[in-house]
Amino acid sequence: MNQLTPIELSRVAAYVDEAMTAEERAQFESELAVNAALREELEIQASLDASLNRLFEYSAAEAGAEAVAAPRALASPFVGRSRVRRWSALAAAVVVVGVTAWVMTRRDPNLIPPQQVWANMEKANFVPNWRCEDEPTFRAYLNSRLGESFAIDESDSLKVVGWGYSSDYQFYPISEQTLTLINRVGDQHAVVLIDRAENDRALKVPEGSGLHLYRKRVGDLVLYEMSPMSEARVLPRVRS
């Protein structure tokens, strides 16, 4: 437990926030080399910064998803204003949304919609490209690809079939990191798309596609289960 004075705490804060002159910085660093309490406080400040970074993690995907919903979200603040102003604001929103959507698309031309992944899996008769024989191998593979793992509790009706390629190597539904897991539920199939949560794109499948999409967050991963079934059958059996 450190016992720093308010002045010392203030100096650590100034050091972290780069608010020191070159001389002050050099002096502080020489003290740091011999003062364990100062080093400890520096660690605490780094941890605090890490916490703030986690709390305010920016999601470009969320920004895109919100952009699509903007005209509806903008409706209420303009209630009671003149019709001209309301419509000009709405038109402005449409321009902003259009530009945002264009920017999102332009940033990643290799995206394919989730239903395309389903079509590719269907075409391959849901035959996996490879499979993991046991839970440790499954977890190790997930860890190596996405930095975090989970397991799926299989049952008589639920079997993990194996990993498939969502498309060829050029296209993907969420990001280049997306993994595609094929599962068998009774006599049907369910495909789970897995990626880092920061890559999330708030996937949707179009009405009339006959597919349903369910989302779950597991730690820093995001999972989408896709199938014709009217409820999620794989995600409830995911274990961290």
């Binding site: 400890e40 993690e57 730690g219």
Partner: protein
């Protein structure tokens, strides 16, 4: 300024505007709504924008205005909610900030942060999370650079003070994958 020029400059500063809104509201999802509402308002006032001035500062002012309005509306809504409903949200907690691997600690940090005044809090977030230089924070918030620096410094110390007694917890979270960028 043409709508195309607006769109280009809006894209350039979008992330800064989002951080301003998120810091004021303590709600990441609502921050997106607020920024878009601000953009829609700005589009109706393009003729009022002086091209010789800072676009981010202009948009930043609108975002702050909309976010503070939204924040006040939420407070009014909360105060008119039945007391029983409030019990489900721990005091000071900001429900709109996701917590991950270090959930409990992050909740305390969020609560401490949200107890700070709006402007110092925004300066701190823009500095630590968004990584802006003091001059950029000053420009985005239309305040002097020295004031931005002072807000960051004092906010950090105040937040640290609010987390007194949680030093072990803070140290133990280092290396859990949520390190500073």
């Amino acid at each position: 300024m043409t709508p195309e020029e607006f769109a280009r400059r809006y894209e350039e500063c979008h992330r800064t505007l989002w951080f301003i809104a998120a810091a004021i509201l303590g709600d990441k999802t609502q921050a997106h709504d607020v920024v878009q509402e601000a953009a829609a308002i700005a589009m109706t006032k393009l003729a009022e924008f002086n091209p010789a001035t800072n676009f981010t500062a202009w948009m930043g002012q609108i975002v702050r205005y909309v976010a503070l309005n939204e924040s006040r509306t939420r407070q009014r809504r909360r105060s008119s909610t039945a007391p029983d409903a409030l019990d489900s949200v721990p005091a000071g907690r900001s429900a709109g900030l996701a917590t991950g691997v270090s959930g409990q600690l992050d909740e305390h940090v969020a609560a401490g942060l949200m107890s700070l005044d709006e402007l110092p809090r925004t300066c701190l977030v823009l500095r630590i999370v968004h990584g802006l230089a003091y001059s950029e924070i000053a420009a985005a918030l239309s305040i002097p650079e020295g004031t931005a620096m002072s807000h960051v410094h004092r906010s950090r110390l105040a937040l640290r003070e609010r987390l007194r007694g949680r030093e072990d917890e803070l140290r133990s979270t280092l290396g859990t994958g949520g390190g500073a960028r």
